[in-house]
């Protein structure tokens, strides 16, 4: 489901020459590599360790690139890598909207279980 790791279409360099993988949280390729070296084996673990994927786009832009790096370093197939855990709300909603929402959203909107710190 992920495009090949050679695809770096969303990556960009910052003024220090670092390749930025997650734009929202400004996480570099080197930081992702560090996280993998220190023992991260999944996208969710890299997310917690580096904050990559915790920004406004919630990993839309960086998930495939991180999967590519993981695949390269760990020698696993990209299509076997679990995507980031999907989180409620899928798109940003205001706190006021959430507070005012009735129960009609309840059945489909229960987020999956997981643990993480922001």
């Amino acid at each position: 489901m992920f495009v090949p790791s050679s695809y770096q279409g969303n990556a960009m360099s910052d003024s220090a020459g670092r390749i930025i993988i997650c734009r929202c949280e400004e996480v570099s390729r080197e930081e992702v590599l560090d996280a993998i070296r220190s023992g991260c084996e999944t996208l969710d673990e890299i997310k917690r360790a580096t904050r990559a994927g915790m920004g406004r786009c919630q990993g839309e832009g960086c998930a495939h690139m991180i999967a590519g790096i993981l695949s390269e370093v760990l020698g696993v197939r990209e299509d076997g890598i679990q995507p980031f855990t999907a989180r409620f709300p899928v798109g940003p909603v205001s706190l006021g909207e959430l507070a005012a929402t009735g129960d009609e959203l309840a059945p489909g909107q229960q987020a999956r279980s997981s643990q993480e710190a922001a």
Binding site: E25, S38, G39, C40, E41, E45, R48, A49, R51, M54, G55, R56, Q58, R87, F88, P89, P92, V93, S94, L95, G96, L98, A99, T101, D103, L105, A106, Q109, Q110, A111, R112, S113, S114, Q115, E116, A117, A118
Partner: protein, 363 residues
């Protein structure tokens, strides 16, 4: 290969397990930590990152947390890492009159014991936090030295420091069984059997199940906490606002956390998220237009009396347990104290009140 007796085996790579391992390695022990996922995968990574001792009760617990807070600040300084612990201060809001008198009493007692905390009347709060609505506010406990820690940064620092000594982390390693073998303890993982002189159970919500393997019922249950995360916002709050509003360095605001009995069901529920949303808007109306980008939930271990369990398992002179609902603030004090005890000293006085006997009315 014949198993080599390691000095100490630690189960759990959260802030408590890693802090104990770090301090043990500093005393010359060789330490092996077993973590089923990645450090912080459990409760250590699923909280509002608050470091606070100022309104903790009883006093013995407040003093343990105060010591932990100072050691954490020192660690941050030694690492030149401002984000490890930021002493941005904390306001603990009081909205009920009766609650006000009990908070005032805790503040008085903690202040007398040297903790920098004072009780503010409602009208002084606006000057400190203009976004907090004064409606319904009775007062607040104010502590300038409480703050926010980054548990993942802390874990990285502890791991790096432990690795430089004689410490090893076995991540993604599930402990299948623990047992006693003559005077040694034995930990079995899918890959190997490890033998040690001492064992530390610091596995959060999993601690009860592990202790049971040694015939001890630990009075600990899982408690679920849910948190909402806003988009990055300009600085709206200078301090941690308790309960439930923490603006991180990044600008994101953490709202919550709930405290629910839901067994091991670790999931977000709309009704609880709405309760958090409504409560947050009441406290700080400006948040009504803030966007939520994510929510998460976590399971935290809750000892029966709410206090940490820092003890030896009854019947064992070399099996220790370290479980706390809120371990981040006290972690360095617990780590240091447990390490001294395990390495052959007496149980330090600071840790003495947190015994399994007081947590378990059966004994």
């Amino acid at each position: 290969m014949k198993p080599r007796p390691q000095d100490v085996l630690v189960i759990g790579g959260g802030v408590l397990g890693m802090s104990i391992a770090y301090h043990l390695s500093g005393l010359g022990a060789s330490v092996t930590v077993f973590e089923r996922g990645y450090p912080g995968a459990g409760a250590s990574g699923a909280n509002a990152a608050i470091v606070a001792s100022s309104t903790t009760s009883p006093l013995s617990y407040a003093l343990l947390e105060e010591r932990g807070k100072h050691l954490l600040a020192e660690l941050g300084k030694a690492e030149s890492d401002d984000a490890l612990f930021q002493d941005c201060g904390r306001l603990r809001l009081v909205t009920e009159k009766e609650e006000g008198s009990s908070v005032m009493e805790v503040v008085r007692r903690n202040r007398e014991a040297g903790i920098d905390v004072q009780y503010l009347q409602a009208e002084s709060i606006e000057a400190l936090e203009p976004q907090i609505s004064s409606a319904g506010l009775v007062g607040a406990a104010y502590c300038p030295s409480d703050g926010i820690a980054d548990p993942f940064r802390l874990l990285r620092v502890l791991l790096a420091r432990t690795n430089r000594r004689r410490g090893t982390l076995c991540h993604h390693t599930l402990v299948c069984a623990i047992s006693r073998k003559s005077r040694f303890v034995q930990v079995t993982t899918p890959r190997a059997t490890h033998v040690g002189n001492a064992l530390v159970i610091a596995s959060g919500v999993g601690s009860a199940q592990l202790s049971q393997q040694l015939g001890v019922q630990l009075p600990v249950r899982p408690v679920r906490g849910q948190i909402l995360v806003t988009e990055k916002l300009p600085r709206l709050f200078q301090h941690v606002i308790s309960p439930g509003i923490t603006q991180c360095r990044s600008g994101n605001i953490l709202l919550g956390v709930s405290t629910e009995d839901a067994g091991f069901a670790n999931e977000n529920t709309l009704s609880v998220l709405q309760t958090i949303a409504r409560g947050s808007i009441l406290k700080a109306p400006i948040l009504e237009t803030a966007h939520i980008i994510r929510c998460f939930s976590g399971l935290r271990p809750m000892p029966r009396d709410g206090l940490p369990i820092l003890d030896r398992l009854p019947g064992y002179d070399n099996v220790y347990v370290s479980v706390s609902h809120n371990g981040l603030t006290a972690a360095q004090a617990i780590g240091q104290g447990m390490a001294q005890w395990i390495a052959g000293g007496e149980k330090p006085p600071l840790l003495a009140p947190f015994a399994l006997a007081t947590a378990d009315p059966r004994s």
